[in-house]
Structure formats: C-alpha cells, structure tokens
C-alpha cells in the first residue's frame, strides 16, 4: 500500500468517526473558531439524547405520597430539620388557598414527582421548554446563558448543560451518546416538596439529571434524578429519581389547575 492510499483510507475514517467529537468541541466553546470561520454548533445540534416529546409518569415508588395527598405530619423517611418539621406539622391548605398559593407544591423541586404528563420541546436552539399538565407549569432550561435576574418564581431559573464525563486518551471531554442533561435551578420561591406541606426554602439549590434510556419492546424511559440541597430544612440533600415513559403523542394530556389538597 502506498502512502497515498494509506492517506486516503485515513481520511475516510476521519470523515466517518471524527465529526461528532469536533462538533462538540466547537459547541462547548473549546478554543473557539477564529472569526469568519464555520459557526459553532448549538446545544440542540450536539444533543447526545432526544428529550423531546410527550412523557407520562410511571409511579412505582413512594406511591401513596405521590398519587395521594398524605395526612398532615406524614413525612416518613425524610430527614427534616426541626424548623421544617414545625412547618410540616402546621400545614394549612385552606390558608394556602386563601393566600393564592395553590401552586406551592408544584415548584421545580416537586413537579417532576407529581403524577402527570410532561411535554418537552426545543423552544430555540439554546432553550428546552418543559410543560407539565399537572398544575399547568412551564420550565425553561437555558443553555450557556447567564440567568436573568428577577423575582423568585415557583419554577426558578434553570441553567442547562449536557453532561460530560472523562474522554478517550488525549481527547477533550464531550457528551457521550446518551449522556444526561444537567439542570441547575436557583431563584425559586420556597414551596412544598410534598403536597402535605413538607417544605423547601428559597435558599434551595436544585440539580437535576435528565437521562433517556431504551426500554424493552422499543419503548423509552426518561429518568429524572433530583438533588435538592437545602441545609435549612434538609440536613442531607434530598435525592430521588422519577421515571417517565415516552408516548407517541399527546394522548391523555390533561392540564389541571394547581390544588392545595389534591
């Protein structure tokens, strides 16, 4: 084989295998292209997984805490501070209703745990929009932009990035196929982690990992791992994973208003 043919074979291999890695490097701003050269790839373009579509929650764990509103004072299994327990023990849904706080248990740390459907779309190349039919809540996951200042909301402000972990020998880290979406949410109003008044504070930091996984019989699952750091109410971070199954369409989509009791 002549060097010319060896070179040709090498170029074939490079053309097939390398573009995703190079594109990721550009998309992450690594060593950015010189002015006037090819544009950087967007988070949407380099997405290692497809989170878009309709997803339905599958409640196989903590069933009676999620499908029902538990009794006041029922926070079995949760490590709460004394202040948090006091708040939970004095939960008053009627007072919440009167104060216009019907959506207090539909905030970002809790919404993924409520039974319902979610619809995820790309609002633009750098923003994923998640709409939940439970409480008709909307969350925006923004890639790479500074978080807008403003009043605290139930859903807060979310910054997203594709997870990277390690890389090959000498290669820069890049999202591997199937990598998770990491979302960090701040600027939230204090709300309820559970519908029966178990609280989280406005100082909470919410980190979530959204991972898509195939299921048997050609299905897909979305696993949302929630890590809530709130030292004021939780001595240890609150960590759970919630599972959704992909649907082919919007069947069962059922927008329902927030409720303080159900």
């Amino acid at each position: 084989m002549t060097p010319r043919h060896l070179l040709g074979a090498t170029l074939i291999m490079l053309a097939v295998l390398v573009p995703p890695a190079v594109a990721e490097g550009q998309g992450r701003g690594r060593g950015g292209p010189p002015p006037g050269s090819e544009p950087r790839l967007s988070p949407r373009q380099i997405a290692p997984a497809d989170l878009t579509g309709y997803w339905v929650s599958v409640v196989t764990e903590e069933w009676r805490y999620r499908m029902l509103t538990p009794a006041k004072g029922d926070y079995q299994g949760l490590q709460l501070s004394a202040e948090a327990r006091k708040i939970a023990d004095s939960w008053d849904p009627a007072a919440d209703e009167a104060a216009g706080h019907q959506c207090k248990s539909y905030g970002a740390p809790a919404i993924m745990r409520l039974p319902g459907r979610i619809h995820i779309v790309w609002q633009d190349d750098t923003t994923l929009r998640l709409v939940a039919d439970a409480g008709t809540q909307t969350r925006l996951f923004r890639f790479g932009l500074p978080q807008p200042a403003g009043p605290r909301t139930w859903q807060g402000a979310s910054a997203a990035q594709w997870e990277t972990l390690g890389g090959g020998r000498g290669a820069a880290p890049s999202p591997a196929p199937g990598a998770s979406l990491r979302v960090v949410t701040l600027n939230m109003r204090g709300g309820y982690l559970r519908k029966n008044g178990v609280p989280y504070s406005e100082d909470a930091v919410l980190t979530e990992y959204f991972t898509v996984a195939p299921l048997p019989s050609n299905g897909q699952a979305l696993i949302v791992t929630t890590v809530l750091q709130d030292p004021r109410f939780f001595p240890q971070p609150y960590v759970v994973s919630s599972v959704f199954k992909k649907q082919p369409d919007a069947s069962g989509w059922d927008p329902t208003p927030c409720s303080t009791t159900w």
Binding site: M1, T2, H5, G8, A9
Partner: protein, 352 residues
C-alpha cells in the same frame, strides 16, 4: 495500485466498524437481542443440551426425561436413559463425555421417557462382568443372559421391573433387553464408583410406588426423577401407588439431603438436584416448590373438610397463584388431574 487502493478502503471500513462496535454502538438492537442461551444453539442443531454440573457429572436434557451422567476411570454411570426415539443420540452424547464405557444405567422410575432409551444406552456400554479362566467358554451363554449380551447393567427398584415386564400371557410394555438386570427391594442400594459413594434410595408412594432417588455423595448431586418436575405441578400416579403425602415426604427428603451454601452466603454453592424434567434445582428452589405443593394441599384439604366435592374444589381453582407457571388445562398432566390426585389421597385428619 488498484488493489492497494481497495485494500486501503477496506481497511478503513473495517477499522471504522471495529471502533463503532468496541465503543458500544452495536448494530444489534439492545442487550437482549444479543443474548443467546447456551443450549439454544445445541437445540437448533438437533443436539441435546448438556450441562456440566461438576467436573465429572453432567445433566443431559432434551431426550425425554432428564439424564444424569457420572464419568470416571470406572466407566460412566447413567441415571435414566430418555425416550426410546432418542436412545442412540443419548448414547453418542455420553460417548463424547466419557472416555470409558457406560457401566450402569440406573432407572428412577418406569416412565417411558426415563427408560425408553435403556436398550440403546446399555448396549452402547459394557458390563463389568467378565469371564476368565477354566469354564469361561461354557458360561458365556449364561453370562450373556445375565448381562444382556455384555451390555451395561440396568439397575432399578423392584417396582420398576414389575411395571416394565408383564404377567405371563400379556404383552410387556418394554422389550426384555430394556428391563433392569439388577433390581432391589430394600430401601437403600449402594455402589462406589469413580471415587464416590452412590446411593439409590427407594422413595415409596410419591410419584409412583417405584421411584428412586440417586445421590452422588462426593459430587453432591441428587437425581430426583419424576418426584420432581420443575415445569408442572407434581405428577402423582395414584393408580401406580403415588400419593400427595408420599410426594411431600419425598420433597422433604430431598430438602433434607440438599445443603445450601451456608454460612457463607456470598457465594453460590451447594447441592444440585436434577429433576425428572426442567432445570436444575438447589436447596432453595426445592423449598419454594415444596411450599407451593404444601399450600395447594392445604387449600384442597380445607375445602374437602368443608364438605365440597371434587368438582367443586376443582372449580374453585385451589392452585391459583401457581397456575401460570405450573398449571395446565390440557395435555398429559393437567391441574385438575393434580387436584384429583390430591383429593383422592389426602389423609383425612384435620390437623396439619
């Protein structure tokens, strides 16, 4: 030059494919699609499923009833021989496992799918009996008769030869060359071959009146015959002396004989139990199976004690919870047949 260019392209394509597969992108759909079971390939090729349980003990499945083979310098000891149609294949399979000839075929019962291969398997073997010295020639004819023409011996409890043969004037169920050449009527028959003791334990009134359990002591493998069928509810042949209490006694005996891996529970070890049909069991599997039979028996007894008829009991589905895995509504052994066998052979005392 053209050939070099083609080779370069082929090399690049091959390397791309290798990198793709190695890095986890697999052309097949998912982990499960890649998974194949050993034995599937054998079955597809028309071979029997051979499972090695110990360095010198194997189970052969797919020839009717399960077959056990112990190998060694003394020759192979075979427990059951499968069906008649599979006899030659069984014999050739055993020849691949054992350098030495088959010396013994032990039958656990007289069921056709356990003794049907006796002729082929024993004839493929060689008796331990030989004749030397003066008078050898004159005794050859007698020895032939004793050893079925120099074939491997066939050993079974007396009930087996009674079932396989027939009273004078009737047609025997099996040819004489398939009958046991050594039968016993005592409770425990023993041998020592290939470095270990072998117990043949008569188990009365379980599946039938002629069942035996074979225990390879050093290998720690028990062959249970049709006392244990891991794919159905127990087959209790009432006409041949089987009973529910006998079956439970047999299962409890197997549980007492089998030892699990305790106290070190972080490793898989312990006694293996080869059933008459289905997969290999161990102590814990036996307990699950015995408990199932006990629970169904208790339900039937409770209903019988309440005065329900057999038909009413069958209609109430006392085997609910186990039907999907072990029940059957058609075939040679149905759930209703099992319920009837239990009903007919239940001891009628009311306490457990």
């Amino acid at each position: 030059m053209r050939s070099d260019a083609r080779n370069g392209v082929l090399a690049a394509v091959a390397l791309c494919l290798a990198v793709y597969v190695y890095s986890g992108g697999n052309p097949l759909q998912g982990v499960m699609a890649q998974t194949r079971l050993q034995g599937d390939d054998a079955a597809a090729a028309g071979d029997l499923d051979v499972i090695q349980l110990r360095p010198n003990v194997y189970m052969i499945a797919g020839a009717g009833g399960n077959i056990a083979v112990q190998t060694g310098q003394d020759g192979a000891v075979v427990v059951d021989s499968g069906s008649a149609a599979m006899g030659d294949l069984v014999a050739s399979t055993i020849r691949r496992l054992s350098e030495q000839p088959i010396r013994y075929v032990i039958n656990t019962s007289a069921e056709p799918d356990h003794v049907g291969g006796n002729v082929a398997v024993s004839k493929a073997g060689q008796t331990l009996f030989t004749l030397t010295g003066a008078g050898a020639a004159g005794s050859a004819a007698g020895l032939d008769g004793l050893t079925n023409g120099g074939a491997a011996a066939i050993v079974a409890a007396e009930g087996v030869i009674a079932r396989m043969s027939a009273p004078t004037g009737r047609v025997a169920a099996f040819p004489t060359s398939a009958w046991p050449t050594e039968s016993f009527s005592h409770a425990r028959h023993t041998m020592f071959l290939n470095g270990e003791g072998i117990e043949i334990l008569h188990q009365p009134a379980a599946h039938s009146d002629g069942d035996s359990i074979v225990f390879f002591r050093r290998s720690d493998v028990i062959v249970a015959g049709d006392i244990l069928n891991t794919t159905t509810l127990p087959m209790i042949d009432v006409e041949k002396g089987g009973s529910i209490q006998g079956e439970l006694d047999a299962l409890n005996r197997l549980i007492d004989m089998a030892i699990p891996s305790i106290p070190i529970v972080s490793r898989d070890a312990g006694t293996y139990v080869i059933p008459g049909h289905g997969r290999v069991f161990d102590h814990f599997d036996l307990v699950d199976y015995r408990d199932m039979v006990t629970i169904i028996r208790d339900r039937i007894r409770d209903l019988a004690d309440a005065g329900m008829t057999l038909e009413q009991i069958q209609a109430s589905s006392p085997a609910r919870g186990y039907m999907r895995q072990y029940g059957a509504t058609s075939g040679s052994w149905t759930t209703d047949m099992f319920v009837e066998a239990v009903y007919k052979t239940l001891p009628r005392e009311t306490s457990q």
